[in-house]
Subunit: 301 residues, 2 copies
Amino acid sequence: MSDSTIKANWIAVDWGTSNMRAWAMSASGTVLAEACSDKGMGQLSQDQFEGVLLDVVGDWIAGPTTIVACGMVGSRQGWVEAPYAAVPCPTIPDGFAHAVTRDAALSVHVIPGIKQMNPADVMRGEETQISGFLARNPNWDGVICLPGTHTKWAHISAQEVVSFQTFMTGELFATIAEQTVLQHSIAVDGWDKDAFLAGLDTALARPERLASRLFSLRAEGLLHGLDGASARARLSGLLIGAELAGSKPYWLGQQIAVIGDSGLSRLYVDALATQGAPATQVNATSVTLAGLTAAYQRLKG
Amino acid sequence: MSDSTIKANWIAVDWGTSNMRAWAMSASGTVLAEACSDKGMGQLSQDQFEGVLLDVVGDWIAGPTTIVACGMVGSRQGWVEAPYAAVPCPTIPDGFAHAVTRDAALSVHVIPGIKQMNPADVMRGEETQISGFLARNPNWDGVICLPGTHTKWAHISAQEVVSFQTFMTGELFATIAEQTVLQHSIAVDGWDKDAFLAGLDTALARPERLASRLFSLRAEGLLHGLDGASARARLSGLLIGAELAGSKPYWLGQQIAVIGDSGLSRLYVDALATQGAPATQVNATSVTLAGLTAAYQRLKG
């Protein structure tokens, strides 16, 4: 529950598959309070969203309140489907979806995701982060990398998303480390920067050998006593290296910003640096909030 | 249980992680009977192997009997560790391990696996299939592909394994299809040959984009209604295509034999054919048995 003395002018919500975060905003756009819940979209049926929202932000509400939400809450399996806008398009596209609520004081608007028809690709949530970054960096052209479960690379020009490409790198890392024979070779945590850089080099040089390099982690554990933390870091290097090889047409010679979890973003910035590609690391939460604020301002006209 | 009227001269056993198969052999090397069990190495502790073996082959035994086994039964977690021989080496290396048994009539010999120190790699079971293939094709030089959970490519010259390379293609296919977001897009069965060939072409042309092409399967399901059977076949094509790109130094310009499950082997033969590389498909069971027979002859020799 949130602080009952705070009353929000409007409320910003980032509602993903696994979690939701909410911010009570003042009329001038400052954060009065924040709260979060582990009730992500993935575990909710359509009629449960309003109850979860009120559990988290109910105390902030005094009278009619606008709520602006981004993320998987707008997917077909979410609260209300906010259809994808097609590239090229502004980062906050038209077509906010309006979620039906039992509580008449709530006016819930969900930001559309963005789709690309060919090659087929979708994003939902990242468009708001990009929008927040551009709100803070007007007229910025270049490429934005958003590392995560499904890492996105987006080409930005003239305040629009021109094209983008998703790599399943984060999900592959987790799945390979936990669900394959490599689970016996890879530690749950720990790190080895040299092993990360070695994996990166290997994959950038011969990305087509990925499935073979993966098995090497197992064989090196058996034959050379490769330790679990080094295996973990090398796996990360191999997968990020293969991604950088595949995304090279995006980042080569471009201005680059990396938006995401700070530890993971640092790996991408370090990896790009080895390729002579300097990148700026950007705090994800702050641009998410800036994007939700830009959407609110757009809504209010 | 096996036919109690059959008495074996010796017994051949292929004992892998998930299953075991046994054959009652005559003195002249013909198969008198066969039996199998789902009690693979993966679910047995060291003291359980003898009991399982006797459950399967006990009726074939009348007096002292030699048993020759290959596969994960010889791993550190198996019945008795049969240390790896290092390449280059004969396909049936020296150093059979002898499993201790309570039943004095049993003389159990386990065939060593093969290791490669750099790049680190291991095989256990496949060496016996290669040996059986070479017993039937003396003086054959070339490359043998053994598709499966961990597909092996082995360079054979002068009856020896010169080098080999393992790709985790089969395990990646199963894990990606069942444990990632793609589980919503990929059917449990069904096939689409054109989609397989399209995936193959895509991955052979740009193997470094694999993690991105995987996400495309999800996005094409959402945006273009890609059906689950086509997605399944395309995933298989993408992974086998990436493997063929990575294993090209092995197979290019070589005589090729493919040993494995008939459906999966057919995919590899078809895939290699698109690259102008004709390959011979070989029945796995028959060469496993030929390899176990060669090992028995060597033991008695």
